[in-house]
Symmetry: C2
């Protein structure tokens, strides 16, 4: 009897057409980032749990998959009557930023003094599955560690836009703000420093709550005066006048694909300077984001190390790209699997592969048309029949 | 103070040079397999635990990392006084074969009737870490599902050897045997059917125990007669006379890169026909292996589905390949990060990237020579100084 055969909840199988599309897109991103001088690294999917949950991952820490201890350590934890937390010692990474900071601390003596990293790989979050949100998904991050100046930001923006352009997403824009602008704005509303992050979290909900909802929530949490000041500010929002702190960036990148957004917050607590979010008219959600996080890398080293990064949300990016097979492969259909026919087919396959074709061998089925139809849908648009007479067959298009 | 900053035990960080070498090799393997008509798929890193531990993974099941339940389910399992097993619901895959059989069952209606799959990805095993053995490592598998004939075996061997050739490992050989040969041999020794797998496990230790050790162990476990018969057989081993059941394969592939090995067993219990192991003179260990496993895919479907596969042990393959950067990149050294210099540098970078160069921007440090030396070691062999005068700088080689 057939058993339950689905992948785990919120996780996906990728069939050949999708997998091919994804690998092609990743190769494009990888190639562009490399051409801009970024260097790819890789960290393990697992990190020690105490490090993963050390407070740098924000709310994502709650979503970490925990991996159980093994052998004697597990027995000890159980017999010690430990709570659930003590039964796990490893966790699946929920982003590529926490592992990057650990990687930098581990390997810094082998890295250039300004380290420009590419990371492309899966992350795991035990989120409630919903449309477009998965429990395993790919992130594509670039980060520059060791440069506290505008060059780093300019490179990240340039390379990210070039990658999106190479994927055909030339309408992508980057919205930009600066944490210092937010802090001075909110302080001006009369919010004291303990309440700053609470206020930022509320403003970050602008997408969902709209202006009136945000003002209401500010009122409920931080009082009338703050709400009134915020209302005045929303009424007079000016995105065309670029603040001094961002003006160099706009002069370097230009304002065609950079947009000042004074309401941009970004959820993560670790940002210390400029923050980005990437948008595309084809997607209602942001397709990437990032910012400067100067305090984070140093935590493992006990020293300050400047860092800034942009992450592309690959699952949202890939949905904006047209896919499908290019249909340039050849199917060699073998009349039978006698040694003569096999040898003939393998030889012809080798020749055609040398001509840069994808060549698939198939034993002739009863219903040849059905096979050819199916092969065409899988990217093979020509075929030839191989018989034992050894004659060189003609390649025909599958109609 | 610096904290412990190592990756988890038995797992590795990959620095840019290693990561680049690995990605290049994977792209070669992927490209060759695609040219031979195989189609890449992907399954999640996690599978439901009961499926992962359903007996198809052999000893590897004991090495599976278990992922803890979450939220209410975890609380319930704990308050129910469950044992450790009931606290986990997911596991990290320990090979790509068990997930493939699940994938096929899930998606078979969308797949060609003969499905030729490529899978390239990490697997996880909680083994005792030792030299050359890791807890996260990459496997590269090709499998043909739905073809019970020699064509499938011939394609797998041809494509695997082509992939190794493309990586420069032209001295790779495939040792081959057949489970039916082993069964008839062992039955001839007087071993009854219940003891067959015990005998195979002993013979599989030939590498470690050598002939005398294997005979001793057969004697201890299965008696004098079996040991005497085995000794006679070892004395008269004949690898040049190809048995009938393998003769078609040798005629198709040729005996130059195929070697009959009557002592080849392969550990996994699920093999039903031909078995392979790939060797290379540069490695004392096998660099790949596989075989026919006709009974396994059908388990999820309640029907028999023929299947055969070969897996390349990527970690062993990559050690046989020379690496290193190609050194064709350019470093543009910025005199300062003024807007003029930044704009000038970004423009030149774009031009050079269009000429297919990798171009890295660096702010001029106090010790330029140190930077250039480091950059050269990272694959950038030319540089130019960018100043604010806007003049087009000359590219110079880094000596």
């Amino acid at each position: 009897m057939a058993k339950d055969i689905n992948p785990p909840r919120g996780m996906r199988d990728f069939l050949p057409a999708d997998k091919g599309k994804r690998e092609n897109a990743l190769a494009v991103i990888r190639g562009v980032y490399e051409s801009y001088g970024f260097q790819e690294i890789e960290t393990p999917a697992l990190e020690n749990l105490d490090r993963l949950l050390s407070g740098q991952g924000g709310d994502n820490e709650k979503l970490a998959y925990r991996v159980m201890k093994r052998g004697a350590e597990l027995e000890e934890a159980i017999s010690g009557g430990s709570d659930a937390d003590a039964l796990a010692d490893l966790g699946l990474r929920f982003d590529l930023t926490v592992p990057l900071t650990r990687f930098y601390a581990t390997n810094r003596t082998s890295l250039p003094s300004v380290f420009k990293a590419v990371q492309i790989g899966p992350v795991w979050r035990a989120e409630r599955p919903q449309k477009g949100r998965y429990r395993q998904f790919i992130q594509c991050d670039i980060d520059i560690i060791g440069d506290d100046g505008i060059l780093a930001e300019a490179e990240l923006i340039t390379a990210s836009l070039a990658a999106l352009d190479a994927l055909g997403l030339k309408d992508s824009l980057i919205r930009v703000n600066h944490r210092e602008l937010l802090i001075s704005l909110l302080t001006g509303f009369g919010i004291n420093s303990e309440n700053l992050s609470k206020a930022m979290i509320i403003i970050d909900k602008l997408d969902k709550l709209e202006v009136s909802g945000v003002i209401q929530e500010l009122k409920d949490n931080l009082g009338d005066q703050v709400a009134n000041e915020a209302e005045k500010w929303f009424d007079s929002l000016n995105t065309s006048e670029i603040p001094e702190i961002l003006s160099d960036m706009f002069q370097v990148i230009g304002s065609q694909r950079l947009k000042f957004d004074p309401t941009l917050v970004r959820g993560m607590g670790y940002y210390t300077g400029v923050i980005f979010e990437i948008e595309h008219p084809g997607s209602g959600l942001s397709i990437g984001g990032g910012g400067r996080y100067d305090g984070m890398v140093g935590k493992w080293l006990g020293a300050d190390v400047p860092a800034v990064g942009i992450s592309l949300g690959f699952e949202r990016v890939i949905e904006l790209i047209a896919g499908g097979y290019q249909s340039s492969g050849v199917v060699l259909v073998l009349e039978d699997d006698s040694i003569e026919v096999l040898n003939h087919a393998l030889e012809l396959q080798r020749e055609l592969i040398e001509q840069k074709l994808n060549v698939r061998l198939e034993l002739k089925p009863k219903r040849l048309n059905l096979l050819l139809e199916n092969m065409k849908a899988n990217g093979f648009n020509r075929f030839a029949l191989i018989s034992s007479d050894g004659a060189k067959p003609e390649l025909k298009y599958i109609d």
